[in-house]
Structures are given as C-alpha cells and as structure tokens.
C-alpha cells in the first residue's frame, strides 16, 4: 500500500466516522424534538398511577386504584368529604325508623347520568329510586366484590345471593324519588356502611351493554367527571359539565397514566409528564425529610421541595399482627402486644409516614377519639404476662405468617426481634398473600401479619365485623370469642346518639386491645407529591382523591 492509498483510506475512515457521528447527533436532536411536550399546565391534570385499571364496574372492584378512579365517575347515596364528615350525595335526605331497621332515602331531584347515546335522543336521564334499587341489588349479587359489607345486613340479601328469590326483599322503591332499605338487625350506624364509592349508583342501560363494555370502555355515573377513554395504560376523564353540585376546582381533563415502576414514575414526575402521584413506601425515604414535618404534613427533601409540595392523608387502614385466640392464651397474646415497640417499628417500616395506632379503630373516623394516644410498649409488663401464660420458652415456637404485601416481611422480622427480647421464639413463614388468607380462614395460622382497609366510616361496623363471635372465621380472623364484646357490639345497635356510641366503642376498643386478639400497629398515611401550582389537594378516609376541588394556577 503506497502513501497515497493510505492517506485515501484514512480520509475515507474519517469521512465515515464523521458521517456516523452526524447521523447519531441528528437522530438524538430529532428524537428530542419529536418527543411530545407533555407539560400539563392549566386545567389538565395527569396523575401517575401505580396499577392498571382493569375495570370501572363498581361490583368488580379489586383494588384501591380502581376505586380512586370510580370515585370520580360515580356517586352513592352518601359519601365523605375531606374531613371525613358524612355528606349527602344522591340521597337528598334520609330518615331512620325508631327501631333503626328501616332507612328511607329521598333521592335528589335534578341529578342526571353522564351523557351517552345509551339513553336515546336525550342522551341522559334523571336518576330515580329504581336506579338505586337496581344498583344495590347488583352490588348484592354473587360476583360482587363489595357484597360482603351488606349481604348479612340487608333483609333478603342472603336469599337473593343464594338464588332463592328474584329480588332483594329489603330493597324497595316506594315512589320515583323514595327508596327504602330494610335491615335484618337494627343499625343506627347503617349510613356509615355505605359511604364508600363501592356502593355507587349506575344505570341499568349501561350494565345491559354487557361485561365486555360496561366497566371496560364505558362507565356511566353521576360524578363530577365522566369517562372519555379507558385502556390498560390510561384513563381519561373530563369534567361533567352538568354536575349537580357546585365545586371549586378547575381541572377540566383528568388523566390517570399507569406507570407501574416506582422509579420511572418519579422520573416522569420530574420530567413533568405527570403532575401528581402517591408516594410509595419504597420512595418515601428518598423524597420525604423524616426529621421534619409530620405524617399529615410531610416536608420534602431537596431538590423536590423546589418544585413540588406534599401532603399526607389519614385513611381508614390498620396494619396489625393477628393472633389466633384458639391457639394462644390471653396472657401470651398480651405479652406479645406489650413487647412490640410500635413507635420504632412504625418509624422503620413506614419511613415516618405512619401513625402509631394500638387499637383497631383508625383515627379520623366520625369524630371518634381513640382511647390510645401513644404506644403501649411495656417490656416489663410483657415479661410478667409471659410468666402467667402457658408458653414454654424451652420448647414452644410461634409461627408468624408473612407475605408480599404491606411490608409484611419487614414487620415480621422486627416482631421476631422484639419478641426475642422477652424469650419468645418466632419463626417466620413466607407465603403468598392468598395462601396466608387461606390458612387464616381454615384456622391453621397461629400468627400473621396483615392489614385492613376499612370500607366503613364509623367504629360500630368495624368492631362488629372484627370482634363479634358470629364473624368467625372471617372477618373475625383471630377467632376471638368474648361474650362481653358480643354484648357490647349488640348494645351499639340500640344507641342512636353518636357521642354515646363513640363512648361505648372506646370501651370496646380497650377490651380488644386488652384481650389482644391482634397487635394493632399503625395507620399508614397516604402521601401525595404534586407540582407547586396545584392546590386544594385532598383525600377522604376511603383514600379517594377529591379531584373536583383541585385548582391549578
């Protein structure tokens, strides 16, 4: 090869390299330029969701994310405001009989379903009592995931579910605007059973479209937002222009964008692709300054505090360690309850986003003041109780079931450590969530880490489902049987006065903590991070965001 050829080859190589670099640079610039600018300003709000929305059919709800979207589209008879106060929605007013068994609802006039061709040329129609009856009856059907809260409460519901009767006898329309619910037993607190969007009202015409359409591509309610588009990746809602209630917010289009990976979701928040997201526990310590603020008003770490705000909301949930009362005596259960340092556990597990709650009733419920303001951790007391128990440290071991949800494994490890300090040996057994539930129901679980998200908004139904002996094996997971508790719960059925009911509930809460069928640990607050130009962010106790009140500057 002569010098000329060599020079020629070097020159060719340089040209080729320059050409490749040019292509690379052009592609990068093109990609950057072509990427849609998704900055959502003004009246469009994009919320980053960590799970896909499979269905918007209220009776098929399977997770809180679906419920959060449904809460914007549908409304029930009543609901909760941001302070967890009961508010009338489709029921304008209601009255209860003196025996607390018959509830009469007057349906609000002038409320229309979201416009859709299914209603014919008028595109909509007014909500009537028959819609309420139809919806409640469907909620009580076999396939309904929300029937559990009402099936044993409403007259004729069990027979209906078993296919013995065609219609639920306890659901009656007595006038186009009057609907009556008859109960099996007195319940002055029944109204607090139906505040969740699980008990939403929908039109029969929409359901008649079939399972492939209703909940999948169509969802028609009366709420502040109506469905525009739904896929596995996003749900787009737009403000209902004919919404019956005056709202303060200015969000015109609300988009739920599914980004399952926590890190990617946070990155998309930084990239302004989404404007708001819930802070998962996995990111809490990276985003929230644990040393400052409180679970309800968290302080963000730099650089997040420059462009974002955060808020924490108390929702009706409790994380606990369930103890099988048939396998453990009361002293052993008390010893376990007293030996667990809830304050430390909550700080570690929730990265400062949880509130210590030693009782079964989460704070913030219907004016209820818990009997426990702080941890009941008492190591000496635990040792004394252990001595009184039948537990033999030389040969006994407690098997604690943990699973993949709710930081269960981490809780289990900490509990194992706390109990070892008083001489109780704990063996952790890791199973999948559904297997743990299966073992609990069969009574095979000795101890288990679990959590509850309540659909009720007053203490009475919570105490009833968790501690009444008639609720063994579910939801009385711990097989707790105490006549004193049963009697107290039955007495709650006769008390119409809220203050008196709360006072008795407090006594029963103390009884539950003292008998320790479960070690109640903490309430997890829902932390939300959002852009600084967004205000009026609020969630109610059912963990439902109130998007209709959100204002964007």
């Amino acid at each position: 090869m002569n010098t000329g050829q060599l020079k020629g080859r070097i020159s060719l190589n340089r040209t080729l390299l320059s050409f490749l670099i040019l292509i690379l640079a052009t592609t990068t610039i093109l990609l950057a330029g072509c990427q849609k600018k998704t900055t959502e300003k003004g009246e469009n709000l994009v919320f980053g969701l960590e799970n896909e929305i499979t269905t918007l059919d209220p009776i098929r709800n399977s997770n809180i994310y679906e419920l959060q979207v449904m809460g914007q589209i549908y409304e029930g008879l009543v609901g909760l405001d941001k302070n967890n106060q009961l508010i009338p929605l489709l029921a304008e007013s209601w009255a209860v009989s003196s025996d607390f068994k018959t509830w009469k609802f007057r349906i609000r006039k002038g409320v229309y379903f979201h416009e859709d061709p299914i209603f014919g040329p008028n595109l909509t129609r007014e909500v009537e009592a028959e819609d309420v009856r139809y919806s409640f009856q469907r909620i009580l059907s076999k396939q309904s995931t929300s029937s559990f809260a009402l099936v044993e409460v409403i007259k004729g519901a069990r027979e209906y579910q078993a296919g013995k009767i065609q219609n639920v006898s306890g659901l009656r329309v007595i006038a186009p605007d009057t609907f009556v619910i008859e109960l099996e037993q007195p319940e002055p607190f029944f109204i607090n059973r139906i505040t969740s969007p699980l008990f939403s009202i929908f039109p029969k015409e929409a359901v008649d479209l079939g399972a492939d359409i209703f909940g999948k591509t169509k969802a028609i309610g009366t709420g502040p937002f109506r469905l525009v588009h739904k896929s596995d990746v996003e749900v787009i809602l737009e403000r209902n222009p004919k919404y019956w209630r005056k709202t303060e917010g200015n969000v015109k289009q609300l988009k739920f964008l599914v980004i399952k990976n926590d890190q990617i979701r946070l990155t998309e928040l930084k990239n302004n692709k989404i404007a708001m997201m819930a802070i998962p526990l996995s990111l809490a310590s990276a985003i929230v300054d644990r040393g400052k603020g409180t679970p309800s008003s968290p302080v963000l770490k730099p650089p997040f505090n420059e462009s974002y705000k955060a808020a924490g909301f108390k929702t009706f949930n409790i994380h606990f360690i369930g103890l099988n009362c048939e396998k453990m005596d009361v002293h052993l259960r008390r010893a376990i309850s007293l030996a667990i340092n809830r304050k430390e556990l909550t700080r570690i597990v929730t990265a400062g986003t949880g509130t210590v709650v030693p009782g079964p009733i989460p704070p913030g419920i219907r004016g209820y003041q818990t009997a426990y303001q702080d941890d009941i951790f008492n190591l000496e007391g635990a040792k004394m109780e252990l001595k009184k128990s039948k537990y033999d440290p030389a040969k006994d071991k407690i098997e604690l079931l943990v699973h993949e949800k709710g930081n269960s494994e981490q809780i289990g490890q900490l509990v194992q450590d706390y109990l070892s300090k008083i001489g109780i040996k704990v063996i952790l057994k890791r199973l999948d969530f559904n297997s743990v539930i299966g073992m609990i129901i069969k009574g095979e679980a000795t101890a288990f880490s679990m959590f509850i998200e309540y659909v009720f908004s007053s203490p009475e139904p919570m105490l009833n489902v968790l501690f009444h002996s008639s609720k063994i094996p579910v939801p009385n997971f711990w097989r707790y049987n105490n006549p004193q508790m049963d009697e107290g719960i039955e007495t709650l059925r006769k008390i119409g006065n809220r203050t008196e009911a709360n006072a008795l509930a407090r006594k029963l809460e103390k009884l539950a903590v003292d008998d320790a069928p479960a070690v109640f640990l903490y309430q997890l607050n829902n932390l939300v991070i959002y852009r600084k130009d967004i205000s009026n962010v609020a969630y109610n106790g059912h963990n439902i965001p109130i998007f209709s009140e959100i204002a964007i500057k």
Binding site: K36, S62, K142, A162, D232
Partner: protein, 309 residues
C-alpha cells in the same frame, strides 16, 4: 409430506400436554379463585356460592374434562375475574408483545450490522463491540431500570412511559425496544463479527481485495452474502429468548402486553386467562420452530440437500 404430518402431530400432542400440565400446575398453586375474587372479608357462604358458580368446587377430573372439551372447540372462554373474552384479550396483548419484541430484534439486526460495518472500516472501533457484551451479562430487569434512569434523568430524549396511551408515538416504543434488543444486539454482533473474521482470513476475500473491489462491495457482496445464513439463524433462534425478555420489559415500562397479563392472571388465579396465555404461547413457539426450520431449508442449500438425502 410425512415430515409435515409428523410435525403437526407432534405439535398437537405437545399442546395437549401443555394444557394438561397447565391445569395441574394451576391446581397445585395455593389459593382459591372465588376467595381471591371476593376478598378476605367475604363470608364463607358467599365464597361457596361463587365456587359453585365458577365450577371450582367440582371434582378435578370433571373440571379437566370441561376445560379440554372447550379447548377442542377452540373456545378459550372468559376470564373468571371480570368476564373478558380470553381470546380477544390475548390477541390484543399478544400483538403489543410482538411489536415490542420484533422492534427489539430489528434494532439488534441494524445495530449488529452497523457496528460490524464500522469495525470493518475502522478496526480501532472494535472496543465498541465489547460494550455490547453488557447485554449478555446484565439481566433485563436491571438493564431496563438502568436504561430508564439514564434516558429519564441524564438524557431525556425518549419518553419512559405512555406506550399504548393516546399520546403513544414511535418514540414511546424506542426505549422498551432498545432494552429488549440488548441481548440480541450482543449475540448477533458477536456472531457477525466471528463470521466476518473467518471470512477475512479466507482466500476469496483476499482475492476480492487484490482485485481492487471497494471495501463496501467486499463487505456486502462478498462477506455478508456468505455469513448471512449463520447471522439470520442466530436472529431466528433469539426469537424465543427475546419473547421472554419482552415480558419483563413490559412489566418495567407498563406496556399492556402479555407480560403484565400473565403476572396478573397468576396472582388472581384466573385460570381461563392463564391457560389461554400458555396455549397461545405454545402455539407461537411451535409455529416459530416450523417457520425457522422451513426458512433455513430455503436459505441454506446444505440443509436442503441433507434433508433430501
């Protein structure tokens, strides 16, 4: 002809075996579909009613018979969780998975070609080929998240999310496809490099150089022509690996494909959906093996001759 009939029979027996195995595995996995559907708070009475409705309380052989007879009618049924038509749902999701997977493989094809061409012109650039080896040693879930962070934080030129949404563009597919293509990029670049080096030592390439052909012509008309079969064979063999990687990528980038559907069906014990996914996947892989076999026979005369003899 006999070979074709044998292949079809083999495929059918494989499908029946897979259907049986899926059924058995499903019944071994702990968890009661009715309980999962209604949640831990539902009473045993309600759960039992739903079990009867779903037929999950019937004897195992009876359930198996029912599933097999439905399968013979080519009826995959409906989801027990939300009554979606299984075949429609899988077809929809499978199309997405195919798009992502094939995009990844196309990227791999282009990059492996471009890199080898570059190294052919500039041998000093061969260090670039080593970088591609990362695609082999890094698991997809790790490379996926890492790529998302790099392109999300430091080089935000492609979107990280939104594939399948109303704002979906070709750019929303870019990153998932690239991550899916990382492994095939490494393998195919390696295969091509090796074959090119073998060819470079051969007499016919030396002759081509001495005859004064341009490098471009030698690369394409002489070398690539002879190594193309091995290179494309590698590409076809990678399809099944890429398919699995795609399922992971879909979960990371929230792409509505078969991956997330599979995970959800297992979690919810949605048997009709799970069985549908397994059967469709099996059919896909069986057809893939037939296609690749036929393709090689067309492309490589040696295989054709061997089969004929």
């Amino acid at each position: 002809m006999n070979r074709a009939i044998a292949s079809v029979l083999q495929g059918i027996s494989l499908l029946v075996g897979i259907a049986t195995l899926t059924f058995l595995l499903f019944n071994i996995i702990p968890g009661d579909p009715a309980r999962i559907m209604l949640g831990p708070n539902a009473s045993e009475e309600s759960v039992q009613l739903l079990r009867t409705e779903l037929g999950t309380d019937r004897p195992l052989w009876e359930q198996y018979k029912l599933h097999l007879s439905k399968l013979l009618e080519l009826n995959l049924g409906r989801s027990i969780i939300d009554e979606r038509v299984v075949s429609g749902e899988i077809a929809d999701k499978f199309t997405t998975t195919l798009k992502v997977g094939l995009s990844g493989l196309t990227i791999a094809l282009i990059i492996s070609y471009a890199l080898n061409l570059l190294v052919f012109y500039v041998p000093a650039a061969s260090s670039l080929l080593i970088i591609t080896r990362f695609g082999v040693v890094t698991p997809t879930f790790f490379s996926g998240v890492t790529a998302a962070l790099i392109f999300g934080v430091f080089l935000p030129v492609v979107p990280l999310s939104g594939y399948g949404s109303s704002e979906s563009t070709i750019f929303t597919l870019a990153l998932p496809a690239f991550v899916t293509g990382l492994y095939p990029i490494a393998v195919m670049t390696g295969i091509l490099r090796e074959k090119i080096q073998e060819a470079l030592n051969s007499l016919y390439v030396h002759s081509a150089f001495s005859l004064g052909f341009s490098r471009f012509h030698i690369f394409h008309a002489v070398i690539l022509r002879t190594v193309a079969v091995s290179w494309l064979a590698g590409w076809v063999n990678l399809l099944s690996i890429v398919f699995v990687a795609t399922l992971i990528v879909e979960v990371i980038f929230s792409i509505p494909g078969v991956g997330p559907l599979l995970v959800k069906s297992i979690q919810q014990k949605d048997y009709p959906m799970l069985q549908g996914i397994v059967i469709v996947n099996a059919c896909f892989f069986i057809s893939l093996s037939w296609i690749s076999e036929a393709l090689f026979r067309i492309l490589d005369p040696r295989i054709r001759q061997h089969a004929e003899t």
